[in-house]
């Protein structure tokens, strides 16, 4: 109370400034709640902004520093030095080099993982697709390799170790790891579940492959000779180079020109945008909390405002006074938030940077980010607080110095209904009546609690939806592993080999070939495949229409049917790549140098699948030189351990069916989870932040409500009410608010969850996540709402109980 104010001599300050300082000190509890809410929200918002800026800045710089090829042309006949020189002189070509890419397998802990080797001639100056050598001396020794640094963890090997690689004939080769490089243009190996290595042609020969620089990498310049990354210009130049090569007698199978950005950058950008939106919501909630708390404080100061007006203060003076107070609190809270925002932001950026395989430099945030953080902390708070400040400042002297009147009709019906239900206990009736005395504040508190709860539930629901979505998606695949062969094999030979194995209880063969979307006239379209060979890939798979091993959900049309040759079904990624064609239209692709056209009969949802066009078995026979051929097999194994799958691979290799890759279905889950786990974690953290702000709002509202009614409680005690009665009344008010907030949060969480889940799913994999309501989260939120209501109101009630009747009645 006023006795507790220390009046240090502050004669140099203006009295109105002194008032601000003392009011803040006197209301330290409420000010603390406001400051915590702002600081927590600004920390979250600032951290996301700082992380986003660092990620966007450093990933862009790192990716561009590699000077990735603007376009890569697949020239099966190879590009020798003399041809390369001619290509460098072609119009629009800024620079060119020729390399080779070999896909093989690497043995890790008894299991084979895909291994992609980038073969770089020792004479290559690394002007294009540059990589940094972190250890060892490039070029590699004869037959050795350099590992991309993100692959060292996946392969459990580093400089000085050796790896077991598979030769083309299925035999094994021990290869020395001569060093480690960083290629910022590659996605991390652990996410793609693929090893990446760099070597000279000597390794290619050791592995039994033909050494041939069949990948032509070019960079492009514009008409004035300046380097260009304009996608249209790149496509144009790549197309003209392909045409020139073809005219010169060099076949070109594929032209690919991926976007000039890291393969994960788009996904990271859009998901961080979603997080920014969540953080903004937290900020808005905090601002509402501040406005609500301030509104309560100002209501308690109404008489003082009236007094100031009687001694000459204008409405503007009062507004400036309390606006200054708000800005002071917001500024301190924002300053306090700066340090955690920085550390959390940089920590988050580093975490996500590891996903992108990018080093995050701890450079200070830019002026825009700093301005946004300060603006969010101070200006948003002030903007929201201005409404209650202006409302309070407009009070007339007569209103301010008169007693607060209760509207007779406030919630009369509800109170009457409660009276009927309540029987002898009047607590609920009295508590409801008290809450409805200030319907605007009650609605603000409930809305704050409900919004915090809804966003908390939405965050948790979305994280559960993610798990459910992956579980459901993977349950559509009832096989345990997919084994891809190094060369097409005859199904009869495969059947014979599998018949001898009791490890496989069921299997289906399929044909999967890389393809390119093509125009109706047969011209090859420029593809958007990244050098890792995974991102941006498009393939055609011939599969048994009556497959027992996959059961994808059909989004549009129907699945393949036996007896419907010429039909094609696209998964959602392929449909998006082809511009979402209508059912019944022709899908034209180039496969193995031939143009094929099928009629679209359906679109499916496929979790963990790259862009794929599905056709019926036999549709690709001509391309493989005859019927009953396969490039891969899906197997069902009762004991699908890595060892069992490896033994199966050995058995097939022994039957002259060497494998190129083995992908256990469990690996798909690991790969998917690795891509988004960190975002889900951040989403859950933001959800908890929302819950905290909601609970703080309730605590603040209860405290304000009790302080406002100090005099009233004193009168109640003076006429015989015990402290416990007053305490029970306050507790009941808090619990009613908590329950109403909980119910509203539950209702609001459904559309909020739908929105967040749908956005995250579409951004991440082109499919909306299912609407999942987490029972656990609902229970947790109920506990949080009731517990915070009980704690907040019991704290306020305890404060009220401590006051004597004299103190209560003389309170002003």
């Amino acid at each position: 109370m006023t006795e507790s104010i220390r009046t240090r001599r502050s004669h140099r300050m203006r009295p109105r400034t002194v008032k601000i300082v003392r009011d803040l000190r006197l209301s330290s509890g409420r000010v603390l709640v406001m400051a915590i809410a702002i600081a927590v929200a600004v920390s979250g918002f600032g951290a996301i902004l700082i992380a986003r800026e660092a990620l966007m800045r450093d990933s862009t710089l790192a990716y561009r520093d590699t000077n990735p090829a603007a376009a890569t042309l697949d020239v099966p006949g190879g590009v020798d030095a003399s041809l390369l020189e001619q290509i460098r002189t072609l119009p629009g070509v800024a620079d060119a080099t020729a390399r080779q890419t070999v896909s093989t397998r690497v043995l890790v802990d008894g299991s084979w993982l895909p291994m992609r080797l980038f073969i770089v001639p020792s004479t290559d100056s690394l002007r294009i697709a540059h990589f940094d050598v972190e250890s060892g001396e490039w070029p590699a020794t004869s037959g050795g390799l350099f590992l991309e640094r993100a692959a060292t963890g996946l392969l459990d090997a580093d400089t000085g170790d050796s790896l077991t690689l598979e030769r083309i004939d299925g035999s094994r080769a021990t290869v020395a790891v001569d060093g480690r490089v960083w290629d910022a243009a590659l996605p991390p190996a652990n996410q793609e579940r693929t090893g990446y290595g760099f070597a000279t042609p000597a390794l290619v020969e050791r592995l039994g492959y033909a050494s041939l620089n069949d990948r032509l990498l070019i960079t492009v310049e514009d008409a004035s000779g300046a380097p260009s990354r304009d996608q249209a210009r790149v496509d144009e130049v790549a197309g003209s180079v392909a045409a020139w090569l073809t005219a010169d007698g060099h076949a070109v199978h594929e032209v690919t020109a991926p976007p000039y950005r890291h393969p994960h950058q788009n996904q990271t950008e859009t998901v961080t945008d979603l997080l920014v939106a969540f953080a903004l919501a937290a900020l808005a909630l905090a601002a509402v909390l501040v406005a609500s708390t301030l509104g309560g404080m100002l209501a308690a100061q109404s008489r003082q405002i009236g007094i100031m007006k009687t001694v000459g203060a204008s409405t503007g003076d009062i507004v400036r006074l309390y606006a200054t107070m708000t800005v002071a609190v917001a500024a301190v809270a924002t300053a306090l938030a700066a340090v955690p925002a920085w550390f959390v932001g940089i920590g988050l950026a580093r975490l996500v940077g590891s996903i992108l395989n990018i080093d995050i430099i701890s450079a200070p945030p830019g002026a825009t980010t700093i301005a946004l953080i300060i603006g969010s902390g101070i200006l948003i708070t002030l903007a929201v607080a201005l409404s209650p400040i202006v409302r309070a400042a407009r009070v007339t002297v007569a209103e301010a110095l008169g007693d607060l009147e209760v509207r007779a009709d406030s919630g009369r019906r509800i109170v009457r209904a409660l009276s009927r239900l309540g029987g002898g206990d009047r607590s609920a009736v009295l508590a409801t009546r008290n809450l409805l005395r200030r319907p605007r504040r009650f609605m603000a508190t409930v809305t704050l609690l409900a919004a915090g709860g809804a966003l908390f539930l939405a965050g948790i629901n979305t994280s559960e939806a993610w798990t459910t979505w992956v579980d459901d998606g993977l349950s559509k695949r009832t096989y345990d592993a997919q084994l891809a062969f190094a060369q097409p094999v005859a199904v009869s030979e495969l059947a014979a080999a599998l018949a001898e194995s009791d490890a496989v209880t069921d299997w289906e063969s399929l044909v999967t070939l890389p393809a390119s979307p093509a125009s109706a006239d047969g011209g090859v379209q420029v593809q958007r495949i990244y050098p890792d060979g995974g991102h941006g890939v498009f393939s055609v798979t011939a599969i048994d229409p009556d497959t027992r091993l996959v059961h994808f959900d059909v989004r549009d049309g129907h699945w393949l049917r036996a007896g419907e040759p010429g039909s094609v079904v696209l998964n959602q990624a392929a449909a998006t790549r082809l511009g979402d064609p209508d059912l019944g239209t022709a899908v034209v692709v180039s496969v193995e140098g031939r143009t094929e056209s099928w009629t679209l009969v359906g679109v499916i949802d496929e979790v963990a699948g790259s862009a794929t066009a599905y056709v019926s078995t036999g549709a690709l026979d001509d391309l493989l030189g005859g019927p009953e051929m396969a490039t891969a097999v899906r197997v069902v194994m009762p004991d699908a351990t890595p060892q069992a799958i490896e033994q199966l691979g050995q058995r097939l290799a022994a039957a002259d069916l060497p494998l190129q890759s083995t992908v256990p279905t469990t690996e798909l889950r690991t790969a998917i989870d690795q891509h988004v786990t960190v975002f889900i974690m951040v989403l859950v953290a933001l959800a908890l932040l929302m819950a905290t702000i909601g609970a703080l709002g309730l605590a603040s509202a209860m405290t304000v409500s009790v302080i406002e009614r100090t005099r009233e409680f004193g009168i109640m005690k003076a006429i015989g009410a015990r402290s416990s009665v007053v305490g029970r009344l306050v507790l009941t008010e808090g619990l009613i608010t908590g329950v109403v907030g909980f119910l509203l949060a539950g209702a609001l969480s459904v559309p909020a969850t739908g929105l967040v889940s749908s956005t995250l799913g579409r951004l991440a994999f082109g499919l909306p996540l299912p609407l999942v309501i987490s029972g656990g989260a609902v229970v947790v939120w109920l506990v949080i709402a009731l517990l915070s209501a009980a704690l907040a109101s019991s704290g306020a009630a305890a404060r009220s109980a401590r006051l004597t009747v004299r103190e209560s009645i003389s309170y002003q």
């Binding site: 006023t2 006795e3 008032k19 006197l26 003082q304 009687t310 001694v311 110095l401």
Partner: protein
């Protein structure tokens, strides 16, 4: 004829209530000149506080005009009204209405601050001078809650005089004081009137009116008697 500092003409105040309009003040004329100490007396509900609120610009008249020191209050916006109060009208209340978080000195400095145009040192000097004038200079750095009722009312009077207004309006200023303290406060009002202020005091205490130079009696929202007190 001397100029009236307070000039109220035909003022009425009607409150619309669910049960029908309630006339708190009906067609009252009042002129108060500098140096007058007017006591407004009457029973509870007679309209005396309503009259004071209209004179102070706390409430607006339903009809009629109120002119204070040459300024007609009815034409002013709320903010300009507040400014006018700060410079032309000093207000004293029954319950003192000091700001609890400011010291006595700071309470007195506050109106000077809102009026603007003074330095920190000027504000302080002026406030200390006023506190000395009401005999509580030694209480300057204390909070209002630590002072007696009489001291608080003196502090409130010092605050009302902060910007040297020509008009001092007091609403039951002795209603919360013991008789000895009340007498000293009333004597202070009388001396202020003697120094040239126009003092209007609403009171239900007939004895309090003994210090006034003029007594206006109200009943049912109208002036029933208005008479000068012979010295």
């Amino acid at each position: 004829m001397s100029t009236a500092i307070i000039d109220a003409r035909g003022i009425s105040k009607v409150y619309p209530l669910p049960a029908g309009d309630f006339t708190a003040l009906s067609d009252v004329d009042l002129r108060v000149e500098a140096g007058e100490f007017l006591a407004v007396v009457g029973r509870s509900g007679s309209g005396k506080t309503t009259l004071l609120n209209l004179l102070a610009g706390i409430d607006r008249a339903t009809a009629g005009t109120v002119t204070i020191d040459g300024t007609e209050l009815g034409t002013l916006s709320e903010s300009r009204l507040a400014r006018a109060r700060g410079t032309s009208i000093g207000l004293v209340f029954q319950f003192f209405q000091l700001l609890p978080t400011l010291t006595v000195l700071e309470n007195v400095m506050l109106p000077i601050d809102f009026a603007g145009g003074s330095t920190s040192a000027q504000r302080r000097t002026r406030a200390l001078e006023l506190l000395g004038r009401v005999d509580i200079a030694e209480q300057a750095d204390k909070l209002p809650s630590t002072l007696s009722g009489g001291q608080q009312q003196r502090a409130a009077i010092a605050r009302a005089l902060a910007n040297d207004p020509p008009v001092l309006l007091a609403d039951e200023p002795t209603g919360n004081l013991d008789s000895a303290t009340a007498d000293s406060v009333l004597a202070l009002f009388a001396s202020l009137a003697d120094s040239g202020k126009a003092v209007v005091m609403v009171t239900h205490d007939r004895d309090a009116s003994g210090f006034a130079s003029r007594i206006l009696t109200m009943a049912d929202g109208r002036v029933s008697t208005d008479m000068a007190v012979l010295a």
